[in-house]
Subunit: 197 residues, 2 copies
DNA sequence: GTCTATATACGGATAGAC
DNA sequence: GTCTATCCGTATATAGAC
């Protein structure tokens, strides 16, 4: 073949990203990724020295994508409440994948924690950037020092919803809880903002 | 040796139970369990035909233990609110293990879901018995048809707390959220019961 | 840069001695 | 009932041809 190395490297990361999400990190073998990309196992080690290096690239990619998504919302919506609602709607917009594979961030962190994998501290940055972004939005809505705690609460609610949707394979539960979570959000900031959802 | 078979079988299940929780199901090998129990790998197959059979035994054991725990609380406490508070306090009482390994039920279901493992439908019964028990308590507190939904909500809140406590390795977050969850519970049933917590 | 072939280790599972 | 020895598949990783 001989396509430019960087392009192939990116294709490997994309395949690994999907497979790690669908099957889990440890359960995904080099063969799985190689088959998906359409290259040989040996070719891998030209681009990555080890499986952990692929994991690292996947985490960095996901982190960048999350940051881009949040920046996009910050630009697209002027109302901080609307921005937070967009964040909650991640659940609704990915309900089918969540039903089958859970949350990509939560499930990866859980797996790495079980394996005492040092890269857990990189993976949980995917939560941290969301926490920090949510904190900013909440402060814009008038919350004070408690904003960060409320942001963590929002993340926890989303994670709980994803976990049970996945365990019971039940999207109805997800939709039900998302509705309640939006109501709760409205109550938290009532009087501070007039835009309903 | 020659100790009675049933006793050894039980010791295998106990070791497997702990190791599946600490390392995950797939990451736990026969060697791991054999070393922990103090027997040879080969001896395994006298007691279990396959790894899935051990998993099945572990799930059944956990399910029985959960049911016994819930029954115990039903006997020990007359106030349904107090019973629910006991359930919430599982988090506090196991905060160190949760920090390191997450929730044993949630993390197992997540792993089985990723592997498309048929035994997910057995594992999620560990959630279902809790949901049903919580529903009974909530109905005793005066809730109507919405009791089941509130029960699922409680489970989801606990799961979210466990997931983020684990991901951030932060027990402070757990304690903070447990406090809020108990407050929320009080608000849900206010006027129906006088016992505070 | 990509391939095939291979080294090496470990997984679950089996056979048969004791 | 428990052991040792072993089969077989697959995993990560490497060497070297092209």
């Amino acid at each position: 073949m001989g396509q430019k190395g960087e392009a192939l490297r990116q294709r490997i990361v994309v395949s690994a990203d999907q497979l790690f999400y669908q099957k889990g990190y440890e359960s995904t073998s080099f063969s799985d990724i190689a088959d998906d990309v359409g290259i040989s196992r040996g070719n891998f080690y030209y681009h990555f020295k080890s499986k952990d290096e692929i994991l690292n690239a996947v985490i960095e990619t996901r982190l960048t994508e999350i940051e881009q998504m949040l920046n996009e919302w910050s630009k697209q919506y002027t109302d901080p409440k609307q921005r937070i609602v967009e964040h909650i709607d991640i659940l609704t917009n990915h309900q089918d994948k969540i039903k089958n594979h859970g949350c990509p961030v939560g499930s990866l962190c859980a797996e790495l924690a079980k394996q005492n994998h040092s890269m857990l501290r990189d993976a949980n940055k995917m939560f941290a950037v969301q926490r920090d972004w949510l904190t900013v939005q909440l402060k814009e809505l008038g919350l004070g020092k408690e904003a960060r705690q409320v942001a963590m609460h929002l993340l926890a609610r989303s994670q709980g919803i994803a976990t049970l949707t996945n365990a019971f394979e039940d999207q109805n539960f997800l939709r039900q809880e998302v509705k309640q979570l939006k109501q709760w959000l409205g109550e938290q900031i009532q009087g501070q903002n007039k835009n309903g959802n």
